[in-house]
Amino acid sequence: MKILIAISSKAYSGETLSVGMKIGKAFNASTTIVDVGEKINQFSMKEVDMVQERMDSWDIDRPGVDVLEWAFEYLAEKKLIKTNTIEAGFPKNTLVETGGGRSEVFLEGTFCEDLNLILRNGDIVEELKNEVQSHGYDVTIIGGSGKRRMSHDLTQYINSSIFVVNNYKSNQTYRLLLAVDNSVGTKKAVKYGIRIAQALDIEVDVITVSKTDEFKDDYKNAADWASKFLRRSNINHKNIFLNGNPSELIAREAGDNHIIVMGSSNKNPLKTFFQGNKPLKVLENSQCPILIVK
């Protein structure tokens, strides 16, 4: 399993990194932390590169290195990297250019072999999409940006599960809201949800929403299957059945004290492009963290 955590600064990404690393640890996943720096105008790309080379000769860090350094310090404090790596300090001299403006530092993790820090520059959606496409991540974790469109675009186009750490507060007690239905992604969502509930030590609400007044068998079966799985995993849970608009009801039920986990939509991408889909609408309506499993 491979996880990508996108961070931007100490001020805004503390919770994203904290939740992301808990999930990485829960899955024993190879974890990569990425900072995507601002897009450089094409007229000035080479000049900016030239300046950054000169900055190296003055021993001044290029933008973004400070963000990786902060991530390194976090990993060291939580002992998520090996002692010899911590003792050697942040290895900024080994920030290797791997092509296409992507630089990488390799670290040895305590819960996984590969724990890497990378720097990229450009449009954040394009950069994260390229990173996922070229390195095959299973889950991408991003902060809840003020720019809702960014989370929306990433959820729509990125080829991995996506966890938007929206308004997460580490001092708040959360429950996990597991949305199940007849979609093919539900089973995977349940499995992911259980791992996360175990990692964060929280209880689960299984929600099933039917658009009609009655619940078809496949909806009931999905809820039963999720309950069975949760019981087997010794996780306290309760079932909620509601009728109405799923995206509105899931978001309402989640409030600000749940972490929503749901499967991605199997709707045709062309229809999604014009009409959106259920997970995208839940993302738009919700005020809490949400994991959409693909």
Partner: protein
């Protein structure tokens, strides 16, 4: 039948979502193509204007890479029948393109020598440790040097100096403070206003000189240009310092410790090396070549001669030049100049010039004023949205078709294209200081609008009271 997996379809849709401006531009150009040609405009002129609109949208939206825009201009010129393939190829390459290519390579060669530490020492030895004096020193040195070497070269050399000073002042080089904003803008604005001083200050100046000569409107030498533009540069230096100081007054009025640390740091780099000395000597020769030889062999060839010496004397390796030179920009300016020439030849420039003046003449009676304000203000706005050289390439032929004194109007356009104070994308210098993460787009506006207005007033005074004395 073609079948797409959901994943491929999602990738195509992602492409569409990112390239929406390319798609919109395509539809706009198709609609414009099928609109009847306006009266007074040739069909070639009509098609040339379609290419101009397409180019402007694509550059501003950055929806495709700049080299792709450059290639598209050439393709459209031929396929829309604006000119023959050989005609387009001939208009693509000129001394101005040689100059842009040569000056970008010279920039790489000079920055490569690591002269920034020497420069830092020279500046702080003169300015001392008072922050106001240091700001004055940075603006002055950036302006004077960029007037000869070009703004991006100077910005690349000065930026590490400023960051080292901020670091030595005990401030975080990742957190913006008034001191960091003040010092960074002193480089950016110093370089911008310096670039007006001589033809070699910026590619756009050479493009304008090329247009004046190509269209048979006059030849202007290196020294003549300086006579027109240098006084304005010298007046602007204290103005820029005052604007910056009062906009970003820092808490630290003296940088005693920072200066001392910087001196120690610079002292470690030892004496001036033979290569550094040779690099300076070659540039002095290039400068003398621009002053004395350019009327005979062109500014571009002189710049390329400098590159030849840098390579031959082993002051830089070709792979370093190849890696660091922005070839996309060279291609784009080649194409933009070709488009400018086609605008002139097809009458598109004249059509736009006449129509713009005709409509404005109804509002303002004084044609000379109308012409000046239209040119200067539109250039200054466009330069903040596009880039200065692209603005002059496309707008230059229109300006030169407006009548009046083409040399004065041409130089005014080039000077106004240096008023790139308002946005990050206005010039490489603005982008360079923004890339540090220490200045936000709001900061450009905070100081920029004041300098923008003062610069227009100064240019007005210089144009109407000083330049007439020269002719």
């Amino acid at each position: 039948m073609l079948a797409f997996s959901n994943n491929s379809l999602a990738n195509y849709l992602f492409w569409v979502s990112r390239k929406k401006w390319l798609i919109i531009t395509f539809f706009i150009s198709v609609v414009l193509f099928y609109l009847p040609t306006p009266e007074g405009l040739s069909s070639e002129g009509h098609r040339t204007l379609i290419i101009v609109i397409t180019t402007l949208i694509l550059i501003i939206s950055e929806s495709i890479p700049l080299p792709a825009v450059a290639i598209l201009i050439l393709i459209m010129e031929v396929t829309l029948g604006v000119d023959s393939p050989d005609g387009v190829a001939a208009s693509f390459m000129s001394d101005a393109v040689f100059f842009i290519m040569g000056s970008l390579m010279l920039a790489v060669s000079i920055v490569h020598q690591g002269l920034d530490k020497r420069l830092a020492l020279a500046i702080i030895n003169i300015t001392g440790n008072k922050t106001l004096n240091i700001t004055f020193g940075f603006v002055t040195v950036s302006a004077l040097m960029s007037s000869f070497i070009g703004e991006h070269t100077v910005a690349a050399m000065m930026l590490p100096v400023v960051l080292a000073l901020i670091k030595n002042a005990g401030l975080d080089t990742t957190k913006a403070t008034k001191l960091s904003t003040l010092l960074l803008f002193s480089i950016a604005y110093g370089c911008a206003l310096g670039s007006i001083g001589t033809p070699s200050g910026g590619g756009r100046n050479v493009i304008m000189i090329g247009y004046l000569s190509e269209f048979g409107l006059g030849d202007i030498s290196y020294l003549e240009w300086m006579k027109y533009a240098y006084p304005m540069l010298l007046i602007e230096i204290p103005v820029a310092v005052a604007v910056l100081w009062f906009t970003f007054t820092p808490k630290q009025k003296s940088l005693d410790t920072a200066i001392r640390k910087l001196k120690v740091n610079v002292a470690k780099s030892g004496k001036l090396s033979g290569n550094q000395l040779m690099a300076i000597l070659v540039f002095i020769l290039v400068f003398l070549g621009w002053v004395f030889l350019s009327p005979f062999i062109g500014l571009g060839i002189v710049a390329l001669t400098g590159v030849f010496f840098y390579l031959t004397f082993g002051l830089i390796e070709w792979p370093d030049i190849a890696r660091r030179t922005n070839w996309g920009v060279i291609l784009l300016f080649g194409s933009a100049i070709s488009l400018g020439i086609q605008m002139k030849e097809t009458g598109a420039a004249l059509y736009v010039a006449e129509n713009a003046l005709y409509s404005l003449q109804h509002i303002f009676k004084n044609i000379e004023m109308v012409r000046w304000f239209f040119t200067v203000i539109l250039t200054a706005i466009l330069t903040n949205l596009l880039s200065s050289a692209a603005t002059v390439s496309v707008f230059g032929p229109i300006v030169l078709d407006m009548g009046g004194n083409p040399i004065a109007l041409g130089i005014a356009t080039s000077v106004a294209s240096a008023f790139s104070y308002l946005t990050i994308v206005a010039s490489p210098t603005c982008m360079i200081i923004h890339s540090t993460g220490l200045v936000s787009s709001n900061d450009y506006f905070k100081a920029g609008w004041k300098l923008f207005i003062i610069s227009i007033i100064l240019l007005f005074l210089v144009s109407f009271f000083y330049w007439p004395m020269l002719s």
